[in-house]
Amino acid sequence: MGVGIVVFPGSNCDRDVNHVLNDVIGLNTRYVWHTQKSIDEYDALILPGGFSYGDRLRAGIIAAQSPIVEAIKKKADEGLPILGICNGFQILVEAGLLPGALVRNDKLKFSCEWLKMEVLNVDTPFTNLFKLNDQIRIPIAHGEGRYIISDDKLKELYKNNQIVCKYKDLNPNGSIDMIAAVCNEERNVMGIMPHPERASEPILSPEHTKSNARLIFHSLKNFLSSYTKY
């Protein structure tokens, strides 16, 4: 029971997500090593950030071929909440669980900075505690985070309300329409480029004030507790 944190060789935010879920949010977790075949016992899965397989070929593509991803796809079909953060988002896109693609930032360099994003869909397991158009102060850290998608598919995203968050004021990587987070049509799978786990403790924000980014995890907790009730 609890949230499974899927660890690939080269994942490097697994321990951070684990700390926040356990010590800040109050959710049980277990690490799921990429060779593990059975993932039946988890209430939700998080694919944390990092450099799985050293970002060789391109970010996320090798991890997307691992056996566990087949099991994750099955779980996604069954409606299990699955969140990919940064490299986790890249893996979900490469695995075909989320639409679009993530390519090199428009300035062709890695960027680590705090910025703002805006919530556009509050009807997902990860955003249900936000109000529409809430702003979140949150850091990014990626070199391949520019979200692209064909015009037709972009229209579909809007139609289905699959754009969960957009960057606000400043586009850090050249993403189309400033997109920072998307979900699948069913809303149970979400990918997000910024790192909510890095903004979940007041002392780590630049102003040392409480950021609402942790509501992404609280939303998951909220979703899971109401789900159990039914």
């Binding site: 050293g54 360099k109 850290a141 630049p206």
Partner: protein, 720 residues
Amino acid sequence: MLTKQEEFYLLKKLGRKPNSLEIDMIDAEWSEHCSYKSSKKFVRSLPSRSKRVIVGPGYDAGVLDIGDNDVITVHIESHNHPSAVEPYGGAATGVGGVIRDIISMGTRPIALLNALRFSSLNAEDNTSKSKWLFKNVVKGIADYGNCIGIPTVGGDIEFDESFRDYCLVDVAAIGLGKRDEIISNHAEEDDLIVLAGNGTGKDGIRGASFASKLLDDEDRSAVQIPDPFLEKLLIEATIEATNSKCINAIKDLGGGGLSCCLSELSHLVEKGFEIELSKIHTKVDDLSPNEIMISESQERMVYIINRNRLSRFQEIFNKYSITHSIIGKVHGQDNLKIHFQGKLIANIPSSLMVNAPLCNRKSMKPDYLKVLKQRMNVDKIIDYNSVLLRLLANPNIGNKRWVYQQYDHEVGLRTVIKPGANASVIKINDNKFISIKLDGNSKHCYLDPYYGTLGCLSEACRNVVCTGARPVGIIDHLQFGSPENPQIYWTFLKSIKAIINFCKYMKIPVVGGKVSFYNETMNSPIKPSPVIGTIGLIKDRYHITNNVPINGDSVFILGQSSEEMAGTEYCSLIGHTEYGNVPKVDLETDRKNNLAILDLIQNGLIDFVHDCSKGGIGTALAELAISGNVGIEIDLQKIPNSCSRHDFLLFSETHSRFIIGTRNTNSVKKLLRRKGCIFSEIGKVDTIEILNFHYSGEDIINLSVKDLNRSYNTMNQLMD
């Protein structure tokens, strides 16, 4: 290459003629890079004891007790020669090397810092390699550190013409562990010796020797190739194996490859080794035994393990798909015996290998110091506004966002004070934090190596104090030209003397360090470039200063400003570089002022504190106005000083000074008076976004924060 005397010494000690493999092994280990033969006797005299120091300076990382069974490990390394030839790979492998020193203690790396030196970024000069070196060094560090998931939390960058066609790349790393879990580095007879990680290849052959001579040819095969993904796996596997009590001793492979690793490890555990080279996994088939022994292929570690723990060890390394070979066993007391396909091909006592005959170098005061001017002869300046803007635009002073945004400085959830501030603060737990800063000033160290070095120490400590931390350890990286040049060697000795005097007086131990000589190109030697790191400890989260000026704050200065203009950024701006009075640290004042600041912070009396260093009071206040996006108004008449002119007062780089902002003026005054400090209330913070310095009603500087900010970001604009 061994000298005639070294060859003779070797012959005498060994009692026979060494064969070619033995000569290659000795040549690597006796290189300046590995043996410290020109510096060892002086480095030994650095004060390195305190009740916190568990392991002092040595081969790998120093270990510092920070209470409650927590220890931090600290190490600093440079990768100057390789980076000057191949900046991306050189800098990246520099990061990899220092990280492996941290995991060699069984501790998890939690932060990286770097100090970089390049020649000026002159956009018009298309013969300068500076921009290319700068861009690729930063990218090399970023790609490596980001991939392994260790945050790069801070650094120090300096641009100076003495680094033309060259660069210095120093990387420091911090690790965190438990006191009772650090690797004790011991070995028993018949323990197994395992080499894990990268295959041994032809990269980095003779790297240590390459780094121990002048950079006259660009020997690319001496530069190593980085693989951060493999390093990340090595980190995780080593920590897992350490926690599973599989490991008796660890050593990383750095300069000098297997030769240096095995001899130093054998000497450390006081046991002999029997090694079979044909067991080693290699990248190519045609490696000779000599090449295997001195290859510097990266991402390799040697482990000594008890036979009973082998299966568990292999289970862990197989989980991470890390190739590993059992390359030999512990046997006997001292000798390193190397076999190839069953045949003994080298047999040398490790005590002989690791104790290179020390050099007695000549030292002589450099000629250039004898002709320095003692009197300033500078035209009066009219437009102070433009001087301040030009200083802010100087990349030695300006914002370094272009650099630190390329580093993931957040991963690990520890970075409380982020890059770009006085010093970086890293969270250990909810009520324990460490603060760290690297500082250097080659202009000051060139004009006066003793007071220049003292200034670097003072500045690094002051930056750490500004975050609310008490300094508990110093690391030093001493970088000079050839020690065979008596005039350069003299500057090295002065620098060492400054560290000894400072650390003794302040009672702060040196916990790690490194000496790097032969930093010269065919053009010239570099300026003496010691880099000093200070590690501080904060025991209460409320003692961390946020350092943002708030409207209504009264502004104070702590410390006396003297006319100490030599080597200042202002003097280089106006082309006055042969003048000789650098800022001189008064140790007692320095200590008193640091303690006063800590007292103010711990009593919650101040909103911000900022040190005055490069660019003096002028740039310190500009930086504050920019950081808070507020106006600051200062009365120059109120600043305690002995300067004969406004420009000297504004831009002198006198040490031991702080700018403070407070809403508790009376309490601050009372505390500073009681401490016997020289201080004065000099101005106010307000909402009109203008920085104003005035003297008897006349505006000396009057600039909008927007204009300041634009100049301050000049380098970011240039590099983007």
